[in-house]
């Protein structure tokens, strides 16, 4: 069941759309439930969203599986997404990604065994090309990366026990 906080958030979105067009709130509803479920969606949560919006379950499921920001399998709590598209590649993003993979002992697309970090396989350009190389940590943009900065970020994440 969705808690009242999530329902309020979904209601806020529903009100942006005309009467009967609550399907438009699927993306935002999924963002909300995913956020409150430590970064991923479950079938139960997707069904809850469909019930709350009063729309067929398949409409929610097809959105959840189409967009890259939705995870339909359990992933680590904190998401790191290194942009490796063309502008970042020209400025050394492959070294940054390799360094993180080596240090976390996982490949892009995987999560660490302790469930703390999810290293997203990012294919899309993240629109910060003038700050390349860059990555997102829980959707915060961190630009002009070098190995030292990356290590500092990972150190802080490891120390942090939230």
């Amino acid at each position: 069941m969705l808690n009242s906080k999530i329902k309020d958030e979904i209601d806020h979105w529903i009100h942006k759309f005309p009467e009967g067009k609550q399907r438009s709130a699927i993306l935002s509803s999924l963002h909300a439930v995913q956020h409150h479920n430590r970064g991923y969606l479950t079938t139960e949560l997707m069904n809850d969203v469909a019930d709350y919006l009063d729309i067929p379950k398949i409409q929610v499921f097809e959105v959840a599986t189409f967009y890259s920001m939705f995870q339909t399998k359990p992933v680590g709590q904190h998401e790191i997404a290194v942009c490796t598209n063309i502008s970042c590649m020209l400025r050394g993003s492959d070294n940054i990604l390799q360094h993180i993979e080596k240090r976390l002992n996982i490949k892009a697309g995987q999560s660490t065994i302790d469930g703390k970090i999810f290293l997203k396989n990012e294919e899309e350009c993240l629109a910060a090309c003038t700050g390349a190389p860059m990555m997102m940590l829980d959707h915060h943009y961190i630009e002009n990366l070098d190995i030292k900065t990356v290590d500092q970020i990972l150190n802080d994440l490891e120390k942090n026990n939230d």
């Binding site: 993306l27 963002h31 598209n85 063309i86 629109a127 700050g131």
Partner: protein, 428 residues
Amino acid sequence: MTDLNQVIFSNINGQDPWSIQAYLSSGGYQTWKSILTDQINKHSPEKIIDAVSKSGLRGRGGAGFPTGKKWSFMPETSQQKYIVCNSDESEPGTCHDRDILKYNPHALIEGMAIAGFAMGATVGYNYVRGEFMIECFPRIEQALHEAYELGLLGTNILDSGINFNLHNFLGAGAYICGEETALLESLEGKQGKPRFKPPFPANFGLYGKPTTVNNTQTLASIPKIIQNGPEWFSSFGTEKSPGTIIFSVSGHINKPGNYELPLGISFSELLDYAGGMENDKSLKAVIPGGSSTKILPGEIIQNCTMDYESLQKAGSALGTGAVIVIAEGSCMVELLKRISRFYFAENCGQCTPCREGTGWLYRILDRITQGNGKINDLELLVDVANRIEGNTICAFGDASAWPVQSFIEHFFDEFEYMIKNKGKSIAA
């Protein structure tokens, strides 16, 4: 040197330029207020559309369609009409809409209100890419809140009888949603799969109602164009490419950045703005308008001016104004493989030539870099690209084909060398 930031970014130099106080003190919302007080004579919808047409403003999202003309397609009807802003910025190399959302959100809001009034659209949606949820989205939400607080949006705005309600929307990670009909599908809560056209959005758009979709930079340019007049705007740039555009310059240069400059400046001047080549390396090639535009070798782009006509004549396009600079020593096969991986990953799966073809392109390039390329692979790559181009519902298919065609056209030797030398790069 040519002056920077003369239109869209002309008001972002002070403190907290994104606040409504800063925007108002630089003359912001004057155009909108003037419309609200004189909507019949001075600022009739026809006059606004006429001014936008005369200014020569073209869509800055990549396709470059004349904005005034697009607005004029909206039908006279009693139905609900919509104005939608495409802030789903994701063309590789492009990052200027992000700066508009961050630093000048009120220019976008005012631009959307004016556009809505001119086309009779009383509701607007600003579709912001999902990845901007922490950085840009709160800021544009705050700006919207401020505009409502001052009574500049809503119902019967400042007793003018004009209604305009605006909402921000958040996407969820899909490059294809930058295509305007995919964006509308996404806004309706569906998968972002482009619609077959016609009918065009002006006749059948959001929820089947007349809709115009414009890019963030396009709409953020509107308030100044109406305030200072179309002649003022077209005094920047060239006769056929009037106005200013924000170039996102990235890659092997000393000062990557967003530079708002008049169209038609020379490539070498733009390169000077960006601090010149990194480590004094020589220029090898440039992708002039985002990864979907054709690559140009250094010796060709060095003689180009940065406008629609010159780049088209040179065999590429201005696109989004995302200038990706590539220095000598870069492996063109690896670069093309990365670009092709992107189109393979991001295609929506709807049209067979694109869904299957982008996979073919990526896999052939992958085997070449792995040392397993065959000598007829280059012919095969171009053949597959040619079979995608023009055979899909939207321009994504073309965008996946053009890099392949142009990289192989201009750097054939590098590809051939790698195939003959079992994956060894000529650039290494």
